[in-house]
Symmetry: C2
Subunit: 404 residues, 2 copies
Amino acid sequence: MFKINTNYQKLPGSYLFSTIGKKVRSFQAEHPEKKVISLGIGDVTQPLAPAIIEELHKAVDEMAAAETFKGYAPDLGYEFLRTAIAENDFAARGCEIQPDEIFVSDGAKCDCGNIQELFDRDNRIAVCDPVYPVYVDSNVMAGRTGTYDEGRGIWSNVIYMPCVAENNFVPELPKETPDLIYLCFPNNPTGAAITKERLQEWVDYARRVGAVIIYDAAYEAYISEENVPHTIYECEGARECAVELRSFSKNAGFTGVRLGATVIPKDIKAEDITLHSLWARRHGTKYNGAPYIVQKAGEAVYSEAGKAQLKEQIAYYMKNAKVIYEGLKSAGYSVSGGVNAPYIWLETPKNMTSWEFFDYLLENANVVGTPGSGFGPSGEGHFRLTAFGSYENTAEAIDRIKGI
Amino acid sequence: MFKINTNYQKLPGSYLFSTIGKKVRSFQAEHPEKKVISLGIGDVTQPLAPAIIEELHKAVDEMAAAETFKGYAPDLGYEFLRTAIAENDFAARGCEIQPDEIFVSDGAKCDCGNIQELFDRDNRIAVCDPVYPVYVDSNVMAGRTGTYDEGRGIWSNVIYMPCVAENNFVPELPKETPDLIYLCFPNNPTGAAITKERLQEWVDYARRVGAVIIYDAAYEAYISEENVPHTIYECEGARECAVELRSFSKNAGFTGVRLGATVIPKDIKAEDITLHSLWARRHGTKYNGAPYIVQKAGEAVYSEAGKAQLKEQIAYYMKNAKVIYEGLKSAGYSVSGGVNAPYIWLETPKNMTSWEFFDYLLENANVVGTPGSGFGPSGEGHFRLTAFGSYENTAEAIDRIKGI
């Protein structure tokens, strides 16, 4: 008789955003006349930039003729895209990353969920708290996290690193020693950034204890301040200890297009085995590449026209961030984030729990956000709003919140 | 200090098609003047059908305007595609599969590699021998296969079911009892088909012993004979024991477009837990959906124009299959397959091993095929040719083989 992976059963409740979706659908079914505005899930709303649309049409036409038709993509992704990423995201910043250290995928979420497979079950993970749920959940499914304490909302074998107002939402080095460290900056959900000096401390620490940093750089395009690193490879020694996850979802509006890239420098080794060779093996065995037309769209992101158009797109969302930040502040909320990231993190008023505030906001302002407790215990009493709505909706949502 | 997943190190050599690719590149580098024809990897060569191209362009245009732009797709895939699959692939054949039992993905290879995650490490798998390498390799990476016997090319904890000329390349029920049974019909690599009666025996057996069948139906569009089932759900009771993997790669030429679907009926349960709920959780946590434009292309596969055009495309490849089959037969080879599948399976001449014949063919005819031993021990002494080339290349390749 077949037996299921019982680790799946350990996961408490369903995936955060699925739960939110259900609550919203149920509210909308009961109140079909209300116009609900979502500043909840981090999904973009602006159309693809013209340079990307043009390239997509061209690539579709290539698929229509035998001479230019493309079948299976190369295992690691097309050379043209890996080269564009290497040049623009790394060489241009003085970082030494070779095209063959970049693995193209159909999105950072998949890579983020799958990367833990390369490691033994006995590795101990450390995560920021609050944190994007996929880091922990994917390790739960692999049986790496111990037992769940429902009352405290924590796993016995996970090292939680609180990110709270007192430390500017940047974690301290942990007291216990982890094997895998998940970091995401600019951060989801807090919107906090890390300075180059602070990130260098993490790289030094990881090298000292022999840990691997899994660095999620999904929001780097939103960085507006100096001295905030756009990639962990700006830090010395990161090639020996850091994997970087890169996404096209937020910097180019590809949430529905699906494209990501994971960087694994060949210098990360356990004895003589490179992590790079393991990920290459995983790609070869369990993956068949991102669609050709999508990889061409990715290339267009790095064209001169694409860069200029996307700069405008990001400015559009960051204008929303400012509206949210300043609107809430003027209404008396304690807010942070929104300067180097499209996320605004606020303290819930009147000692409401995160989910109480979720319901309160949905019912009274018909605005959807994300409860901080869904991101970890230190997220309790906090709430995330995102800048990815249209300007009109964002402004209206903030007006409504100010009015309640 | 981090520790790697040592199961990866157990995998012998590199992935079959990567090895072939390296050998071919090396031969081509030494002999740049030779025109190598590949009948090796199962990659299509015909352009996308006009109905699909048209839909892709339309979908790209939708992504260009805020009103029609699409962000993250629904977890399970778009309703329009799941409904089209449910109606055309199942309801039309009298099979009861609901749209919400169909999970859209970026390809059957990923699903095929990931599906084993839902099961405990202690489950024992049974595979046809020879077999598509991903079934075994993905289980090796999960630590489910025991130790590797290099001499015999087998894993201690895998049940191999020989598929040889004596049993018409359809496996007998195994003597030892498996928990997971991988079946693929029409078969890769042998090109063999299974009758409905024989498949019903497998379904009955799986229900009797409490096993799950993972049924790979990637080649069903190539079925030309009556009484060969297009889906396992044509068999009674399959809803209680069978998962079906479906691919758009071969039936619509989507190898570079990336689209697949996995069917998990809600009747498959271990105690009260449905396999469906586990896969839904995996999708929600580690996956973010197939691209909208690709899902629209998938919908076009089921349009009247799409169906007619793809029928022609498949007829084109099956004409190649006939050229290969008859050409080799007339040259004295023992051949099978090629009637309900785009694969032709042949016995290597003069007691050559599969890899010896690979080298022989590459050097003397400049034709690339796939060594049977790469698919499992019973594949030794055999060789796979595929019908996915152009007609001109296929005919030339067969002429060359006949000439050596």
